[in-house]
């Protein structure tokens, strides 16, 4: 009995078990692996006297396509003196049941394909199965991404299906040098992950390193891009990430052309791009659709917005508490008059205002869309106005925080960092004035400058300076100059994207790494 038990695959131990010739045993084994899960559909069929079965998961395959492309063709097979081998050979060689079909010999592969929307054909007497992709699960249509709006670019964004995303990229880059490498990661979820790159642009060491990291992921499931980001990011404790996230296929193509690697993940529309530079957070696709002078203007607006978003409330608190000589005297008089009625200190006012804003923002995201409008009404009009009327918060403080928060909307990709640093700036400014804020900015600058990802400094091309690349940072050169540069990140000063660099990193465990 024990011996028999050891040979039966189950939900924990099935991947390497081979498919057996006996049809009933195969079906029994598959049911056993799935624990009798009720969404498994088994359709037994007899073809020319040979017993067979079509298995699929309910809701994962298109019922209509399964009938038209699999079951009906199978029922129309006519083979004289049909045997199991003849039947299997006929189905495998003479029929095309799907554009994506394969032969599986192990239960691990069969289960994975069943769960990926494949129909599996088992023939009695054959220790193999034919799998055909007939995906028909419900999926979202391609539409404009919610997080990366633009004016003149495409209105298409990635979806949750990785194969659709691949097609969105392939349509834009019709070159054989665009490569996709698909594999499954995570022990329980077996999530499909695609590594995409341009073979003539990307450093081979980078692709190799990323693939190695993905294959060695020690995760049970991947339900979002955030699950694998820490594994792809460098080991440095940097607040600013060396990866970027995008929902747009056009942005992904632009980054692939610069010699980066994109990672598409099944189940999430957010793709990861590695490596990323800090200056890219201030670039949008619209910059390349507008005239250069306007694009430059917008870019500097973003730089100023970043500064305002992080430092404005902190500088205001610091100047008012410690350095009033720096404020204009009329402004100071108005400020003092406004603060006369407020019961709290300036620093506490700022913190309360910012925290209230975070609460309202979080509520707006979590609320159902139908009542989302109520959040802005309650938050903006009632709380804001009432707080000022009640004298809890002063008008200047509300204005300063509103400007800072609005400025942070300009660079949504840095939202996390901006929020944390903004609150830190208020606290430090409230305790130690401009001196503390200067120290905080030194820490921020050092943190960004120290960050490296796969041998590429995050602060490039500002530092290490690269005059060629600055044409797309300090200004936005016209396409006549920008278009034909063939620029890749590997050309940036200070970039050391090499296999040996990564190897040293991994072997040292990051100890001697800069961070």
């Amino acid at each position: 009995m024990a011996e028999t038990e050891r040979n039966i695959p189950d939900g924990y131990n099935f991947a390497e078990f081979p498919v057996v010739p006996d049809l009933d045993e195969n079906i029994e084994n598959i049911r056993n692996i799935l624990g009798g899960s009720s969404d498994l559909l088994v359709n037994p069929i007899t073809i020319c006297g040979v017993r067979a079965a079509v298995l699929c998961f309910e809701g994962m395959v298109s019922g209509l396509n399964t009938v038209h492309m699999v079951i009906r063709p199978l029922t129309e097979i006519r083979i004289e003196n049909c045997t199991s081998e003849k039947l299997f050979s006929h189905i495998h060689n003479n029929m095309i049941i799907s554009v994506d079909s394969a032969v599986s010999v192990k239960y691990g592969d069969i289960i994975r394909r069943l769960m990926s929307g494949f129909a599996v054909i088992l023939v009695n007497g054959i220790g193999k199965a034919i799998c055909g992709g007939i995906q028909g699960y419900a999926m979202r249509a391609v539409k404009e991404p919610s997080t990366e709006g633009n004016i003149r670019g495409a209105h298409e964004g990635f979806v949750e299906i990785v194969r659709t995303n691949m097609s969105l990229i392939r349509r834009r880059m019709k070159t054989p040098l665009l490569r996709f490498d698909l594999f499954a990661v995570a022990q329980k979820s077996n999530t499909d992950v695609v590594v995409c790159y341009m073979a003539d642009r990307v450093p081979p060491a980078l692709v190799k390193s990323i693939k190695k990291k993905l294959k060695n992921l020690d995760l049970e499931s991947i339900l979002g891009s955030g699950y694998i980001e820490p594994f792809l990011d460098s080991g440095s404790p940097s607040v600013f990430s060396g990866l970027s996230i995008t929902e747009r296929p056009d942005v992904m193509c632009a980054k692939l052309l610069e010699g980066r690697v994109g990672i598409l993940i099944e189940g999430t529309p957010f793709a990861i791009v590695v490596p990323a530079l800090f200056t890219e957070h201030f670039q949008t696709l619209d910059d390349y659709n507008f005239r250069p002078y306007y694009a430059v203007f917008l870019r500097y607006i973003r730089y100023i917005a970043f500064f305002l978003a992080v430092f404005f409330p902190g500088i205001y608190v610091a100047a008012a508490l410690f350095h009033p000589e720096m404020l204009n005297s009329r402004l100071l008089v108005n400020l003092a008059a406004a603060e006369e009625a407020a019961p709290l200190s300036l620093m506490l006012e700022a913190l309360i205002t910012l925290i209230f804003y975070e609460i309202i923002r979080e509520a707006g995201v979590r609320l159902p869309k139908s009542v989302g409008g109520a959040v802005s009404l309650v938050g903006g009009l009632i709380i804001g106005d009432a707080a000022v009327s009640a004298g809890i918060i002063s008008n200047p403080m509300l204005l300063v925080c509103a400007i800072s928060v609005t400025a942070s909307f300009v660079i949504p990709s840095l939202d996390q960092q901006v929020t944390i640093f903004r609150i830190a700036a208020v606290i430090i400014g409230g305790f130690s004035g401009l001196f503390g804020i200067a120290l905080l900015s030194a820490v921020m600058l050092a943190n960004i400058c120290a960050a490296e990802n796969y041998g590429l400094p995050v602060m490039a091309p500002v530092s290490p300076f690269s005059s060629k690349a600055m044409g797309d940072v300090a200004v936005r050169l016209g396409f006549k100059k920008l278009g034909g540069r063939g620029f890749t990140v590997e050309q940036l000063n200070g970039a050391e994207i090499s296999e040996s660099a990564e190897y040293e990193l991994e072997n040292d465990g990051g100890e001697d790494h800069k961070n």
Binding site: A319, F322, H323, E325, M326, L327, N328, L331, S432, G433, L434, F435, G436, I437, A438, L439, S441, A442, V443, L445, A446, C449, A450, P457, M459, V462, S463, P464, F465, N493, G494, E496, E511, D512, K514, N515
Partner: protein, 347 residues
Amino acid sequence: MKNMSISRGQAIIMLTLFGVLFCVLNTDYSSMGKMLADTAVTVIILSVMAIPLVILAGKCSGTVPMICSERLGIFGKAADVVFFIYFTCAAGDVLSRYGEFACERYFREAVPVICTAMLGAICIYISHTGAETVCRMSTVLLIMLVLTSAVFVFGGADDIADFDYSTVTAERLSLTDGFGGLFPLGAAGTAVLCILCGGLGKKTRCGLYAGLAAMLTAAVLITGAVWTTLEGYVFSSEYPLTDSVIYASRGATFRNDGLFFSLWTVIAAAVISLLCACAGHSFKCVFNKIRYEGIISGTAAVILAIISIYTEIPVCRMIYAVPVLPVFLVSVIPLILLFAVKGKENR
């Protein structure tokens, strides 16, 4: 060892920042002619001092402490210890002086020890990230420096134009005049090249001399700006550069010296961190298995700075401002190493 790929431009900018920091902390702006002449003589002395270092950097790869410990045995280790002490004292002195300046002018609510400790804590973190990080910061600092200088010139243009330049006369100097003023901090900046040469290699010569020229230019321009703005008031002012910035902004809608102070604080953090990183590197050359050498050297600098402030005895300055020490480190040791290298080649 932490990897160091420093560019020539970054080395030049770092030396310029040393010059700027000297001008910020300098309390003695004597006659303009004498100040300019002192500064020029200092830079000439430093340029001559650094000749052996430049030749060594062209022949050998690696930093001077590294080469010392590899080639000179126990004497090399002793030299590395001297490097460590020198850089730590330099960092401690700048830290204590800047902490006092910040407390006195911009943060009166605290005491100098607290300001020093805060700045020191930040410098410990930055030095832990390595000299390369500090050099990368320098590019951003240069951009900010140029912008703030434009603000200053714009605000003080009237004073600069109205200054009576005929009062600037040549002063008679002696050789020892070049060892005051800019010399301690300038020599520390030159000594930093003993470490940065590991990343610069053959570009050390260009980086060093261009850097010293940039340091001289910065000191001259700032001295000129201070004098043209404040004129005779420099003798009454404790921190003339700060007062000149305040004076230049008197016509503006608001006083913008806070902007300058913030920039100077980041520059001070960068300079101190670089000195601590160099001290840490020297320390690691002696004790190879040590980790977190930047933190150790930074902590030592902070402790020395706090002792200096608390006891009112400039402990650090007494060690690092002595001209003999940088001459020994920048000239004598590289010269000895050149002979050692040559001897090995002949054999």
